[in-house]
Amino acid sequence: MQEHHDDSDLLVILRHGPHGSSWLREGLDAALVAAAFGRRVSLLFMGEGVTALLPGQQVGPLGQKGTAATLEMLEMYDIETLLVEEQGLSCLGLSSDDLMLEVACLSPMALARVLCGHRLVLTF
């Protein structure tokens, strides 16, 4: 994993959960488009963003789609580097076993290294 994301082109930092705002959806859209354009993309779920990976999400009460279905398509787009801030998980009392996708947990030190290792960083 370490050698994998070190030479990725784009790091998309997702700091918001589903349904509460459009940040998560718009960040994912940017990641998907970059991947479709042939860029190697890593996703970093940080802070509240880790809740995007909780299983059992549903459409909103007015029929809002949410983002869980998009996350399940990431592999099809060759987005395989899913990084999660360890601190973001523990702060909510969660562990990586609670999540719907396979992720790599990042210690604070590793997190700073990841930011240095990408040609472009977008925060959402």
Binding site: H19, G20, S21, P61, L62
Partner: protein
Amino acid sequence: MRYAILLMGAPYSDQASHSALRFARALVARGHRLEAVFFYHDGVHNAARLAAPPQDEPHLVDAWAALANEHRVALQVCIAAALRRGLLDEREAARHGKDGVSVQAPFELTGLGQLVDLGTRCDRLVTFGP
């Protein structure tokens, strides 16, 4: 009871509009009277008649209009907040020399005095912020 809603979040950007609409429907279903929804701050974007969301997402502008028509709910948009954000009805477009209209009935541009009036007149005022 007589209710009013103050909505200050933009549709699509955050959940405030969804929450307000759902709350509005629930209170009407419980037999209350919803006098008005007042749109302020970024909430004025709920009145954007040109909004074209994807077809598989709720169309909030249309949903407000439907609620207004079914239950005689006034949809009052703060005129000062709207003008800055590019939301004009026909009269304001003419007044500002703009050749376009971005707000139409049942939404009406109005002053903050209406908000004060609603707050005094209604039994409950519930705010939804971004």
